[in-house]
C-alpha cells in the first residue's frame, strides 16, 4: 500500500526523516518495501490570475497579472491555453527549482516574464492523470502559499506491507494510529459523524434487501445535487501520490475514503437503478455483468452481486458494473458502504481472477463499524462539494463490543522474558484503542472494534511487545532440559553425505518435480513439473548430460510412488560419468570402482559389507547391474546406465550409478576385533581355468570353505580370456594366503593343502590348472 507521509501527518506528528518513519513502521510489523523520495522543488507558490491580456507582439501568447499574495502582482507571459482570469494556479517564481529546470527572469517577445505558471507534470506528478496545461487549484486556496508544503509534495511516499491479520491498517488512519501509539503522540482523527440527517424526499428512497448472509452489513445513503467535475487539487494530489488515478470528484471521494479509512465504497448512479431496491444476492448461473474494467463476465452462483430489479450492478466487494457507473451526467448517487464475509470475497476474487483494492480489504473480513465511518466520511466530503446528503440507512448486523480478554500481567513476563510495569502495559494497550480495566494484577481488556485480530491474552502480549519494541526484549540463551528425541535419521543422511564427499563425489540437489513419474501434482506450475520424481536416476542423467566433463555426484532426496497414501522414500544416488577406457569387453573397471565406493560407504554406515549379486534393473545395463543386500534384504542396486537410455538423454560418456534406499539400511553393527596369527604366513598363486559364467565370488567362497582353518585370505586378482583358455572358458588368477594360528605352516603342509584344493576345484567347477 502506497502511503504519502504527508497524508499520515494529517493525523499524527512525525519526525522529518522518512527513513526513520519507515523504520518505525517496520518495527511495528509493517515493513516498508520502498521509500519513494520526492524530488526537491522550491519557489513554487499559489497564485491567482488577476487579469489576462493578449500579448502585444505574439498571437499565441497571453500575459497574466498573477497575485501571489504579496501585493505586487507578477507579470507572467504564458503559452498555455487553459488559463483564465480568476483561476487559482501554481506559480514557479524567479529562482524556483523544478525537477527539470530553474526559473530565471526572461523576456518573451518583448514582455518581461517574472515566473512560470506550471503543470502537474512540472510538480513531478503523473502528467497523464491531470489536466493538460496549467494545473488548476480551487478558489478556496489563498494566493502566496508554498504550494509544495501545502500539497505535501515534498515528503516521501512509503510502500507499506500489511499482514493479512491487519486489514484495519490497510488505511492511512490505521497506520497513523499505530505510529501515534508507538511515538506516544496524539492521534487527530476526522469526525465520523454523518452529516446526513434528513430522510430522502418521497419517491427518492432506495432500500436495500440483504438476501445473502455473506453481506453482514450495508449502509446506504442517498446523495443529491452533485456536480461532477474535477476533485480539488489536494485530493487529486493525494490520490496520485498513493498510486490512484483521479477520475472525478465523486469517484475520487470513494477512493479517497477507502485509502483513508480502509472501508471500500461503491457509488451507484441513482438514475440508473431500475426500481427502488438494491438486492444483495448470489448471482444466477449464466448471469452477465460488464465490470468497470470493460470486461464482460459470466457469473455462477458462487458470485455475490448487488443488483437492481433488472440486472447486477456490482460484483460485491470487487468492482462495480458499467451499467450503474457514475459519469459526468450524474447528479444523484446511492452510496454503498458494505461489509462482506471475507472468505466469500476471497473465493470470488480468485475464481474471477479479479483482485482490486476493495477485494484485498474485504477478503480479510473488515470491522462492521467501518461501514458507518466510511459512509460518514464520504458524505462529509461530498457535502463539502455542495451536495445534499440524506440520512444513511443501515441494514444487517449491528456492531457489538468485542469480547473482553483477561490478561494476567505475569503472562507478559512469561511469554516475553521481560518485566514491564502494569501501568506501561495498560498505557500501550490504551494507545491502540483498547478499553482497559485493572483488577489487581489482572487487566480486563476490550479491544477496539477495528481490531478483530485480538482475541486471546497472547494477542495482547504481542501488542504490548510491539509498542514497547521487540528490540527492548533481552536476548537470553536458554538451557535446554534433557529429552528423548533421536537425531538418528538425520545423522545417517549426513554421514552418507560426508563419506561420499570423502570419496570424491559432489552433492547436487535436483528438481523433485519432473515431467515423468506416477504421482501427479494437481496444480503444476508447468507441464515440465507435473509429476513427483519416482527415482533420482533421471535427475542424475540430466546432470551427467549437461556437465561438460566427467563428474562424480551424489544426491540425497525423496522419491514418490503412487500408493495410498503416497509412498515416499529417502534415497541416495551416487555415481559418475567417465570416458571409455581400453579394456576387453568382458571387463568393466568402472563398475568395479563404483562397487568399491559402494562397499566402502556401506561399511562406514552399517559396519558391514553388503552382498552383491547380478540382477537387472530398469535403466541399467542388463549385464552390468547388481543388487546390494544385507541378510538377504535388498537395500539398493548399482550398475552402468543402459547405453540406449544414455543415448536418449544425450550422454556423451559412460555413466554408472548406485541407488540406496536409506531407510532399508541396517543399523550400525560394531565390528569385533580378532587378533592376527602370531605365526608367519605363506601364499600360493593359482591360475584356474573355469567356465565363463562361474563368478569369482563363488571361487573365493569355495576356497575359503575348502581350506577352513589354514586359509586367512583368498582373492581373485586377475581374469584372462583368450585362445589359451579355450571357447567358453576363462582363467582366474587367485592368491591364497595360508596361515595357522597354532604353529608355523610348513611348505609341505601348504603344498598338500593346495593339492587338495585343486582336486576339489576340479571336482566342483571342472577347473583346470593353467601352468
Amino acid at each position: 500500500m502506497r502511503v504519502p507521509i504527508s497524508w499520515l501527518r494529517e493525523f499524527v506528528s512525525l519526525p522529518s526523516d522518512s527513513a526513520a518513519v519507515a523504520d518505525r513502521l517496520a518495527m511495528l510489523g509493517f515493513p516498508v518495501a520502498e521509500i519513494t523520495e520526492r524530488p526537491k522543488i522550491t519557489g513554487v507558490v499559489t497564485g491567482r490570475i488577476a487579469s489576462l491580456a493578449k500579448h502585444p507582439n505574439a498571437d499565441r501568447l497571453q500575459v497574466a497579472q498573477v497575485d501571489v499574495g504579496d501585493g505586487t502582482p507578477l507579470t507572467i507571459a504564458t503559452a498555455a491555453t487553459n488559463v483564465a482570469a480568476g483561476q487559482t494556479i501554481a506559480v514557479a517564481t524567479i529562482g524556483a527549482r523544478l525537477p527539470e529546470l530553474t526559473i530565471a527572469p526572461r523576456t518573451m517577445r518583448g514582455v518581461a516574464s517574472a515566473g512560470m505558471m506550471i503543470s502537474a507534470e512540472e510538480l513531478a506528478l503523473p502528467g497523464e492523470w491531470f489536466e493538460d496545461g496549467i494545473m488548476q487549484l480551487e478558489s478556496e486556496v489563498a494566493p502566496g502559499l508554498d504550494a509544495v508544503a501545502v500539497f505535501g509534495l515534498d515528503t516521501a511516499v512509503l510502500d507499506v506491507e500489511v499482514t493479512t491479520n491487519r486489514p484495519d491498517a490497510m488505511s492511512v488512519i490505521g497506520l497513523a494510529r499505530e505510529l501515534a501509539a508507538s511515538y506516544g503522540a496524539p492521534l487527530r482523527l476526522p469526525s465520523f459523524d454523518n452529516p446526513g440527517r434528513a430522510a430522502e424526499p418521497p419517491g427518492k428512497e432506495v432500500t436495500v434487501a440483504l438476501e445473502s448472509p455473506d453481506c453482514r452489513r450495508f449502509v446506504s445513503q442517498r446523495i443529491d445535487g452533485l456536480r461532477v467535475g474535477p476533485a480539488p487539487a489536494w485530493m487529486r494530489i493525494r490520490l496520485a501520490l498513493s498510486g490512484q488515478r483521479p477520475i472525478n470528484n465523486v469517484v475520487d471521494v470513494s477512493n479517497y475514503v477507502m485509502l483513508e479509512t480502509g472501508q471500500p465504497l461503491h457509488f451507484y448512479d441513482a438514475a440508473k437503478i431500475a426500481g427502488d431496491t438494491l438486492i444483495v444476492r448470489d448471482a444466477r448461473a449464466g448471469e452477465r455483468i460488464e465490470t468497470l474494467d470493460g470486461v464482460k463476465r459470466t457469473l455462477n452462483s458462487q458470485a455475490l452481486v448487488i443488483a437492481d430489479a433488472e440486472q447486477p450492478l456490482c460484483l460485491a466487494g470487487l468492482m462495480g458494473g458499467a451499467s450503474g457507473e457514475v459519469g459526468t451526467a450524474t447528479t444523484a448517487i446511492v452510496l454503498e458502504a458494505a461489509n462482506f464475509d471475507g472468505p466469500r470475497i476471497r473465493r470470488m476474487s480468485s475464481e474471477l481472477a479479479l483482485r482490486t483494492e476493495a477485494s484485498s480489504r474485504h477478503e480479510k473480513s473488515l470491522a462492521l463499524t467501518l461501514t458507518d465511518a466510511g459512509a460518514a466520511r464520504a458524505a462529509t466530503l461530498l457535502a463539502g462539494f455542495g451536495a445534499t446528503v440524506h440520512a444513511p440507512r443501515a441494514y444487517g448486523m449491528q456492531a457489538r463490543d468485542a469480547a473482553q480478554i483477561t490478561l494476567k500481567t505475569a503472562e507478559v513476563d512469561r511469554l516475553l522474558g521481560m518485566q514491564i510495569p502494569t501501568e506501561r502495559i495498560e498505557g500501550h494497550l490504551s494507545s491502540l484503542g483498547c478499553a482497559v480495566a485493572r483488577d489487581g494484577a489482572t487487566l480486563l481488556v476490550t479491544p477496539p472494534p477495528w481490531r478483530r485480530d485480538l482475541s486471546i491474552a497472547a494477542d495482547l502480549v504481542e501488542e504490548v511487545a510491539r509498542i514497547e519494541g521487540y528490540d527492548q526484549i533481552p536476548a537470553v540463551v536458554p538451557s535446554v532440559a534433557p529429552h528423548e528425541i533421536s537425531s538418528a535419521e538425520y545423522e545417517r543422511e549426513n554421514q552418507l553425505s560426508n563419506v561420499l564427499q570423502g570419496l570424491g563425489y559432489r552433492e547436487i540437489i535436483t528438481q523433485s518435480l519432473r515431467n515423468e513419474g506416477t504421482v501427479e501434482v494437481r496444480n503444476p506450475l508447468s507441464e515440465e513439473q507435473r509429476f513427483l520424481r519416482e527415482s533420482l536416476l533421471p535427475g542424475a542423467l540430466e546432470y551427467f548430460a549437461e556437465a561438460g566433463s566427467p563428474v562424480r555426484i551424489f544426491e540425497v532426496g525423496e522419491t514418490f510412488a503412487d500408493e495410498d497414501p503416497v509412498a515416499e522414500r529417502s534415497i541416495l544416488a551416487f555415481g559418475f560419468s567417465a570416458d571409455p577406457i581400453e579394456e576387453p569387453n568382458w571387463r568393466d573397471s568402472e563398475f568395479l570402482r563404483l562397487k568399491g565406493d559402494c562397499e566402502h560407504l556401506l561399511r562406514r554406515v552399517t559396519g558391514r559389507i553388503p552382498g552383491v549379486a547380478r540382477a537387472t534393473r530398469a535403466g541399467l545395463h542388463p549385464g552390468k547391474t547388481a543388487v546390494l543386500s544385507f541378510d538377504g534384504r535388498e537395500v539398493g542396486y548399482l550398475g552402468k546406465i543402459d547405453p540406449r537410455l544414455a543415448k536418449r538423454n544425450d550422454l556423451r560418456r559412460n555413466a554408472y550409478l548406485c541407488i540406496v534406499d536409506i531407510r532399508a539400511l541396517p543399523s550400525y553393527e560394531t565390528p569385533t576385533y580378532s587378533p592376527p596369527s602370531r605365526y608367519p604366513s605363506t601364499y600360493r598363486d593359482l591360475a584356474l581355468i573355469v567356465g565363463i559364467d562361474l563368478a569369482a565370488g563363488a571361487i573365493e567362497e569355495a576356497v575359503s570353505t575348502e581350506l577352513r582353518g589354514i586359509c586367512t585370505n583368498v582373492r581373485v586378482f586377475d581374469e584372462y580370456r583368450g585362445p589359451q583358455t579355450g571357447e567358453g572358458r576363462k582363467s582366474l588368477a587367485v592368491r591364497v594366503t595360508l596361515q595357522r594360528f597354532d604353529a608355523t605352516i610348513t611348505d609341505e603342509e601348504a603344498d598338500a593343502a593346495i593339492a587338495r584344493l585343486l582336486e576339489a576345484m576340479r571336482a566342483q567347477f571342472g577347473a583346470e590348472i593353467r601352468t
Binding site: N165, P343, R346, R414, P474, P482, E507, I509, S512, L532
Partner: protein
C-alpha cells in the same frame, strides 16, 4: 714375517687406492669382495698362515686381523662419505613448487546442506535433536493443526502443490512441530531441516523448491528472549561475531507473538553504502524467516497445557541464507548445482 708384512702393505696400498677410486656403493662392495671376500687377497694371505711355523702363526694372525680391522674401518668411512655425497647431490636439487597440484577427485557437500549442517550443529550443541520428515503431508499437519483452518486468509501465503484433496507438498517444515509434539511429551527441543515447495514463479530471488530449517523449543518457562538469544547466536555462528539480528513484529497463525527475523546484510554490513547493495536492496538487512511464541491453539492441539508450557518456533530459508553467505547472484544456482558452482562453494 717381514715378507707377510710387506705383502700386506702392498695389498693395503692397493686397497686404499681402490677405495679411493670407488664412487658408488656397488664399486665399494666390489672392493670389499676383492680384498676381504671369500677369495679376496687378504683372505688368501690368511690362508698362507697355515704354512708358517706355529710360533709365528699367532703373530701373523694378529697382524692380519689388525689389517682387516683397519680395512673394514676404511670401507665404512668410505661408505659414509659416499652416502654424504649422495645426500648432498639430492639436497642440491629443487623443484617448481608452483607447478599445478595433482588433484584427487574433489568431493563436496552442497552449500545448502552445509548451511543446514552448521545450523543444526549449533542447535545440537545447545541440546536440540535434529528430526526429518516427509515432504508429502496431509493438510492437517501443514495447516489445520497449525491454527490455519480452511478458508483462513493465511493459507494464501502458502500457495501449495496439491496431490489429493487432503495431501500436499509441504510449503514449510512446520508439520514437524506437530509430528514431534504428538509423539513426545515436553520438553521438546528440535530442529527440522528439509525440502519445501511453493507454487511461486521462479526467478533470481525465488524458488518453487527450497529448504527450510525449522526450530522448536517447548518447555516450562520458555520465552521470547530465549528465541532472540538462540537466533542471534545462530547468525553469529554463520556470519561472524559482529552479526546483528533484528526481530520485527509479524503475523503467522501458529505463533503469537510473531516475529520476522532479519540479520545485518553480510555484504554491505548495513553501512551507509548499503543503498547500493544488491544483496539487501539497500535496507542493510536480509530476511531470515519467521518466528514466534507457539500459539496456544497449537499447544492445545497436541495435548499440551498452554498455561503450563510455552515455547517458540522459527523457520528460515536455507537458500536465502546461502545467497547472503556465499554472495550468490541468483538463487536458481542452488538447484542447478552446476559443476563450477559446486567446485567454488563445495566444502
Amino acid at each position: 714375517m717381514t715378507e707377510l708384512q710387506n705383502q700386506l702393505q702392498d695389498v693395503q696400498q692397493r686397497f686404499a687406492d681402490a677405495v679411493e677410486a670407488a664412487n658408488d656403493g656397488q664399486a665399494l662392495e666390489n672392493v670389499r669382495v676383492a680384498y676381504l671376500g671369500r677369495s679376496g687377497e687378504v683372505t688368501m694371505l690368511r690362508r698362507g698362515i697355515g704354512k708358517l711355523a706355529p710360533p709365528q702363526r699367532r703373530d701373523a694372525g694378529m697382524i692380519i686381523n689388525d689389517a682387516v680391522a683397519a680395512m673394514e674401518l676404511a670401507l665404512r668411512a668410505a661408505g659414509e662419505r659416499l652416502e654424504d655425497r649422495r645426500f648432498e647431490s639430492d639436497l642440491a636439487i629443487s623443484i617448481d613448487v608452483s607447478f599445478p597440484a595433482i588433484a584427487q577427485p574433489g568431493g563436496s557437500i552442497h552449500p545448502v546442506r552445509r548451511i543446514i549442517e552448521q545450523s543444526c550443529a549449533y542447535f545440537v550443541r545447545h541440546g536440540f535433536a535434529v528430526v526429518i520428515g516427509p515432504e508429502a503431508e496431509p493438510d492437517y499437519y501443514n495447516f489445520d493443526a497449525l491454527n490455519i483452518p480452511a478458508d483462513h486468509p493465511a493459507r494464501e501465503g502458502f500457495d501449495s502443490f496439491w496431490l489429493t484433496d487432503k495431501v500436499l507438498l509441504r510449503p514449510h517444515t512446520s508439520p514437524m512441530q506437530i509430528r514431534t509434539m504428538q509423539r513426545y511429551a515436553p520438553p521438546i527441543a528440535i530442529v527440522a531441516p528439509g525440502k519445501c515447495f511453493r507454487r511461486d514463479a521462479v526467478d533470481a530471488r525465488h524458488l518453487s523448491q527450497f529448504h527450510q530449517v525449522e526450530g522448536l523449543l517447548v518447555a516450562e518457562g520458555i520465552h521470547f528472549g530465549h528465541l532472540k538469544g538462540m537466533l542471534t547466536g545462530l547468525c553469529r555462528e554463520l556470519f561472524g561475531e559482529a552479526q546483528r539480528v533484528r526481530f520485527r513484529p509479524s503475523y503467522f497463525p501458529f505463533t503469537e507473538p510473531s516475529a520476522e527475523v532479519d540479520t545485518t546484510c553480510p555484504k554491505c554490513k548495513g553501512t551507509p553504502a548499503a543503498t547500493q547493495c544488491n544483496m539487501c536492496g539497500g535496507s542493510g538487512w536480509i530476511e531470515l524467516g519467521g518466528s514466534g511464541m507457539v500459539h496456544p491453539n497449537v499447544l492445545r492441539e497436541v495435548g499440551y497445557d498452554p498455561e503450563r508450557y510455552s515455547g517458540w518456533a522459527f523457520g528460515f530459508g536455507a537458500e536465502r541464507l546461502g545467497l547472503a553467505r556465499y554472495g550468490v547472484d541468483d538463487i536458481r544456482r542452488f538447484v542447478k548445482s552446476e559443476p563450477d558452482f559446486l567446485a567454488q562453494l563445495g566444502t
